[in-house]
Amino acid sequence: MLLEQRARSLAVHAVLVAYSALALGPILLVVMNSFKARNAIFDSPLSPPDSSTFSLIGYAKVFRASHIVVYFENSLIVTMVSMGLVLLFGAMAAWALSEYRFRGSTALGLFLSIGIMVPIRLGSVAILNMMRTLGLNDTLTALILVYIAQGLPMAIFILSEFIQQIPMDLRDAARCDGVPETRIFFEVIAPLLRPAIATVAVFTIVPIWNDLWFPLILTSSDSTHTITLGVQQFLGQYITDWNSVLAALSMAILPVVVIYVIFSRQLIAGLTSGAVK
């Protein structure tokens, strides 16, 4: 009995370890090799940097040769503003759709969920035309608008599910207390949505930060490139500067990891315990 349990737990852990290795391996390779000299990258790509192969040449080149700080700034601005607005509008829409019954609310809910099923990239040409017409071509605003549209459907979907788990009595109690509807949302409901908001934040940030497509078609100057697009300039058709690519990629990973660590603390459920029995 006990043996069987142990065997099962071992098997599960084996699978998990294998998956983790598979997922973390490439990242580890990128980070490891970003600290090695060019020859060492090609000679022994799988070995960690040692005293003879250690080199910061990639980082030095990246900072010297490109506008990496600007790219970083752009990525941060686009990601943070998009995330903030997706969370705000997403939570408000989710609350409205699950709390109020109004004419067309079902249709509106369906309309918003279409975005989950249809990839926004299908509309690339139309988006490009629209941005040109609006004069938003080659601006961060264009990227932010697109990312909000991209992130909203999933945010509304996830947050609606969470909102439905919040006891109805809470909002009834707030109404009896004379709390205005907007304050009910921001001061009673939103604080209880923190775990959900953290989840949505992570789900929203990662694809925006990593996106190459929309910066590629919507931005054209160095001053509006994001980090993911910026890295591409080291990938040439004939020569690829691997030191710089790996160094830039390593740095690009960092903010996402930091953000994930920050939000994962909020991912603790059970915040509603004590509200109702």
């Binding site: 009834d172 004379g178 304050r183």
Partner: protein
């Protein structure tokens, strides 16, 4: 403090009628309990008074003010929920003051009200705690405190004790009764527990299937149930019913025969020959070797001994079960055949439509 009036109130969801033609008048300072089985519409009625559910037809007046179109907060009511509904991310003090911020109560006054409510409910040591650190009883006291600080005209309670364990339920019940005396406030209280209803209420409103069956004081309902539903609902264990018919009327005496009891002579004032009737007798009014015109007998199947009294379950002649309360140390043996009697004053008679026939008063 205020009175409350409900006139011809109805509620329907689509074609489903949840409440129909509810009329109720609650005096200033009165404690009214709405009681009934689940799904009878009592909670809906309470939520309509609170303004959380809309009115389909009819009017609600609080303090002679028509409140149909008013938001809950404008009705000057406060509601206590079964699930407590405390704000989980606020401490006890904040829970109580949160609503006051929006109704224009000055900070100093908020402070005073919270302190007073905390003293009344013995919540002082808990003011800095969060709901998750409180026990069920403490949470419910906080919820009541949150209602008190609003100084409402009418207090509404929606099954406030249902989530508490038995001992706590009794002590919190006493607490609520004490509060009512202290505050002298108008209170409407919903429960499915008849003990709560009987002990707390000035008047009880018995509801079933969206209708009011009877309104009255606890003992009026107990001794004079208006119909079969109230007779069966109030009292535990429930009243025993026997189907019968008026066989003959001879002068002032009617002879009623039916299954499960011996032919019964009753004053004939309100009884017609041939009328179908239901005879009801409470378990506690039947006595072994007792006196009275009503007699029934059967074999004892089971005896539940509770100490104060015992409940004998008896198989009647018409193969239904009869429950009899037996007091004292002597209880009948299982399989023993026993005859029980009840005096005239404890015999309830209902007509074919289930309405009470007052046999002593005439028609």
């Amino acid at each position: 403090m205020s009175n409350l009036r409900v006139e011809h109130l109805g509620k329907s969801y689509g074609s489903a009628n949840v409440l129909s033609d509810i009329n109720l008048s609650v005096d200033n300072g009165e404690f009214i309990v709405l009681v009934g089985p689940s799904g009878c519409g009592k909670s809906t009625l309470l939520r309509m008074i609170a303004g959380l559910d809309g009115v389909t037809t009819g009017d609600i007046y609080i303090g002679d003010r028509l409140v149909n179109g008013l938001a809950p907060a404008e009705r000057r009511i406060a509601m206590v929920f079964q699930s407590y509904a405390l704000y989980p991310h606020m401490d006890v003090r904040k829970n109580m003051t949160f609503g006051l911020k929006f109704t224009g109560v000055a900070p100093a006054e908020r402070q005073r009200r919270v302190d007073e409510a905390a003293r009344m409910l013995r919540l002082e040591p808990l003011l800095g705690r969060y709901p998750r650190d409180l026990s069920g009883g403490q949470r419910q006291r906080v919820a009541i405190g949150r209602a008190i600080v609003r100084e409402p005209d009418v207090f509404l309670f929606d099954e406030p004790l249902s989530n508490l364990d038995a001992a706590l339920r009794v002590s919190t019940r006493v607490e609520i009764a004490r509060l009512h005396r202290l505050l002298g406030a108008t209170m409407v209280y919903v429960t499915h527990d008849q003990t709560e209803a009987m002990t707390l209420a000035d008047r009880i409103v018995v509801m079933s299937e969206g209708r009011i069956e009877q309104i009255g004081k606890a003992l009026d309902l107990y001794y004079g149930p208006a119909n079969l539903f109230v007779a069966g609902f109030i009292g535990s264990p429930a009243m025993n019913f026997f189907l019968g018919a008026v066989e003959t009327v001879d002068g002032a005496t009617a002879r009623i025969v039916g299954a499960g009891f011996e032919p019964l002579a009753l004053p004939a004032d309100a009884l017609d020959r041939g009328a179908k009737v239901t005879i009801g007798v409470r378990p506690e009014h039947l006595r072994i070797a007792g006196q009275g015109p009503f007699a029934t007998s059967g074999a004892v199947e089971l005896v539940e001994r509770l100490g104060v009294s015992s409940f004998a379950h008896v198989r009647r002649a018409d193969d239904k079960t009869l429950v009899v309360e037996v007091r004292g140390r002597e209880t009948p043996e299982v399989t023993q055949n026993v005859t029980f009697r009840a005096p005239l004053q404890d015999i309830h008679v209902f007509d074919a439509s289930g309405q009470r026939i007052d046999i002593s008063k005439g028609r």
